[in-house]
Symmetry: C2
Subunit: 114 residues, 2 copies
DNA sequence: ACCCATAGCTAGGATTACTACCTATCCATT
DNA sequence: AATGGATAGGTAGTAATCCTAGCTATGGGT
């Protein structure tokens, strides 16, 4: 596994939802958006992206529809109303989570008040 | 599983190492330090903490020794030299990881320069 | 006498990202 | 014409790790 794999767990869904918040996209484009938007850090294999999208669709957070562009079939996804709500919640959740970790990671101990 | 469970995956080790950076501690005290230091957010079950400490010890990042305090046996852990190095690397890694996620989560799309 | 906090432990379950593999079209290079 | 890469989709099975649920044991409070 990639080293980043475990770190990403539980945070991939928000990233996918956030990407779709910029407008409907198909899976491959989402994968590229994450890669480019992260400076290459999140260059996820398709075996990660597609199953995750299926999961989000099953959960009713995104909805997909087939189309054909340049002879290639595409499945374009967009956020549902639920997906928008979920995204808002998860964004807030991330901020709190990140703040908590960052605080704990600050070098300590702090000087005890006397 | 707790909802936070997946989010924490891959980040627990840094938290444990960072806690031990404040001085040697035993498992139960580490658990409490994480709970209190996170405002209750990371109130981890012992079934999470102890196996993680064993993992870190096997990896040579911390070293433990038994002692008895008030009739209760304790296993006190401290960072090894490798553990200190690992902590420094993981701290830097967290900053980059968090920055990448936060950037991707910012509402977009940004206005395209013309 | 009982329960809770403290202190440690483990087996098995649940979740999720990854590896490795597959199909197919279009385009550029050989 | 043929080959390979980029695009676009997919799946089955593996690895990693956090949690649940259970256990032993001591000390202090009600």
């Amino acid at each position: 596994m990639r080293a980043e794999a475990q770190a990403l767990k539980g945070h991939l869904d928000v990233l996918l939802l956030a990407t779709l918040n910029d407008g409907p996209q198909h899976g491959y484009a989402i994968k590229e958006a994450l890669r480019d938007g992260s400076g290459g850090r999140f260059d996820l294999p398709t075996g990660t992206v597609y199953p995750a999208l299926h999961r989000l669709e099953r959960a009713g957070l995104i909805s997909g529809s087939w189309s054909v562009v340049d002879g290639r079939r595409r499945r374009t996804y967009q956020l549902t109303a639920e997906g928008h709500k979920k995204l808002a919640g998860e964004r807030a959740n991330w901020r709190e989570f990140a703040a908590a970790i960052t605080t704990l990671l600050e070098p300590g101990p702090w000087p005890t008040a006397t």
